[in-house]
């Protein structure tokens, strides 16, 4: 059983957001959704958890190993980051982009081999972009870029996926595609941490939800317990109302315009 556990995780940087005493936990096969308003430090938290920011205080344990002490090569075999897909700005084809997920399996002097290419092909099938295998990343839509981004992370064969607002720039159809993929990956035993603005997505995929509050506290609990009108209204500092949908068999959250 693989696990990611933080103990009083804090981070401060002169021109980025700060997070304070975050205690979170996620295990193999679970989806943890981080909710919070703009600018509260969701991306900072994601960057700490994925090893991009290493000057954090407190601890981040991956299977009992302290994250910043893990060699970056080994770390890339344990966790993979899915940053926001719109940021992909390379001219490489989808296939060549995904192949880069194998970089840390080779030295600077070697090239990817046949097995790497077979793996990439199978993951292109998994994310459903077979017809775009040789298309330049520049010519892809936001949704396709995001799926490609997840694909590149999967090529690393990680035990933990960390996703920074994977649905933020996507329309409904592509949101559903990404969320379904998230759900199926967790069923295959991958631990997933994803940040989002939308509590409705949390009710769709999350096993547990973490709220990054504006007073810098962090609360984590199971989705049904922690997501309610009061907690969300407080989180976003605007009235939010939920109704149970019989068709969807889950709570649906809406914004009250006043």
């Amino acid at each position: 059983m693989f696990s990611l556990v933080t103990d009083n995780l804090s981070f401060a940087y002169k021109d980025s957001n700060t997070i304070d005493n975050v205690n979170l936990k996620v295990e193999s096969g679970q989806v943890l959704v981080i909710l919070g308003p703009n600018g509260i430090g969701k991306s900072t938290l994601i960057n700490c958890l994925s090893g991009v920011f290493s000057k954090y205080k407190g601890s981040i344990k991956l299977d009992n190993d302290e994250l910043k002490k893990i060699d970056s090569k080994k770390l890339s075999h344990k966790l993979a980051l899915v940053s926001q897909g719109v940021n992909i700005n390379t001219n490489l084809s989808l296939f060549d982009y995904l192949l880069l997920g194998r970089s840390s399996f080779h030295s600077i002097f070697s090239q990817p081999n046949k097995n790497d290419e077979i793996l990439v092909d199978s993951i292109i099938t998994k994310i459903g972009l077979e017809s775009l295998k040789f298309t330049s990343m520049q010519n892809m839509s936001g949704g396709q870029k995001q799926l490609a981004n997840i694909g590149r992370a999967l090529v690393q064969e990680p035990k933990l996926l960390i996703m920074d607002e994977p649905t933020s720039a996507l329309d409904y159809k592509n949101q559903v595609k990404v969320l379904k993929l998230v759900k199926s990956l967790s069923k295959q035993g991958i631990a997933i941490v994803m940040s989002t603005h939308d509590p409705n997505q949390a009710t769709m995929v999350a096993d547990s939800v973490g709220l990054l509050m504006s007073n810098k506290t962090y609360n984590q609990g199971s989705t049904n317990v922690i997501l309610n009108d009061q907690s969300l209204s407080k989180l976003y500092q605007t009235p939010i109302i939920s109704t149970f949908s019989d068709d969807l068999q889950r709570n649906v959250f809406g914004i009250e315009m006043g």
């Binding site: 994925s50 993979a80 940053s83 700005n89 001219n91 084809s93 060549d96 880069l100 600077i108 330049s136």
Partner: protein, 296 residues
């Protein structure tokens, strides 16, 4: 033709041998420089993920010109001019990197800006040297050097600089797949298990070495390092596993053609940058009109 075959069999008479020897040395130098500058350009374009990057982006060529000009003003022999160019080229890039390190910039933009700053400074120094140079011979030498020529390349120069270019070419060829990863954003590069700064600096170091060596052999040759990578990517796509070797090939062929023209258009050799400019500009316009995304 028979004289040529005798040359290769080592049986040519001394006059033929001398001419063919010179031609042979010149063509080897042209091939090495054409391949080297094009690979350096392709490397810089990948590292900065910017299609407008050329081998001079960090100021190496302008710095080398200053080095050469200092030596020319002191009436130094040719090998001192070459050495001074090489050293000043490297020094300029080191200064560019030092300025960038003070900027604390998170992307490559800081390095590009530092390159512009250092190039500007070196241009001014070069300008003042041209101003004080003796217009009879020194000024002419500096200007000629600034526009590139293989006319003065001899055996000794090729034997001392050629191996450096060859090492640069071989290193970049072996490590070319890593260049693909460096076109991604910093956070992603880090989490796929690569040290972005270290890898970037290694690539920059070898591309700089290549450029400095090329410039010290034959002066500054424009356009090749900028245009050839684009032609190559048109032919084989953006994967550097194919684009980099293709750049080497296209660069070598194009510069051989340019040098042949430079030798044969008039009685005297005309400076190479004039020829590469006339060839490079239309090709670059064609690529831009075809709507290729050059990453800017």
């Amino acid at each position: 033709m028979t004289e040529v075959s005798r040359f290769f069999l080592g049986r040519a008479n001394s006059a033929t041998k001398l001419i063919l020897d010179l031609r042979f040395i010149r063509i080897i130098a042209v091939i090495l420089v054409g391949a080297g500058l094009s690979m350096a350009g392709a490397t810089f374009q990948s590292v900065f993920n910017n299609g407008l990057a050329s081998p001079n982006i960090l100021g190496v060529s302008t710095g080398a010109s200053v080095g050469a000009a200092i030596a020319i003003l002191n009436n130094a022999p040719i090998y001192v001019i070459e050495l001074a160019a090489f050293i000043m080229g490297i020094v300029t890039v080191v200064l560019t990197i030092v300025i960038d390190s003070f900027m604390h910039s998170k992307s490559s933009i800081g390095l590009i800006l530092s390159g512009i700053i250092m190039s500007g400074l070196m241009q001014s120094i070069l300008g003042s040297m041209k101003y004080i140079a003796d217009p009879e011979d020194q000024l002419q030498s500096i200007v000629y050097w600034e526009m590139g020529s293989f006319m003065k390349v001899d055996k000794q120069a090729l034997y001392s600089v050629g191996p450096i270019i060859l090492v640069g070419i071989i290193f970049l060829l072996i490590t070319r797949w890593r260049l693909n990863a460096l076109t991604l954003d910093l956070a992603t590069v880090k989490t796929i298990g690569i040290n972005p700064k270290l890898n970037r600096n290694i690539m920059i170091a070898f591309a700089t070495l290549l450029t400095a060596a090329a410039v010290c052999l034959c002066g500054v040759i424009g356009w090749i390092g900028l245009v050839v990578p684009h032609i190559s990517r048109q032919l084989v796509g953006d994967d550097n596993r194919y684009a980099l070797p293709m750049s080497a090939g296209v660069g070598a062929v194009l510069l051989v053609i340019a040098d042949t023209l430079a030798r044969s258009v008039s009685v005297n050799d005309i400076p190479l940058s004039i020829v590469t400019g006339f060839i490079g500009v239309p090709i670059f316009i064609f690529i831009l009109i075809k709507g290729r995304n050059i990453g800017v």
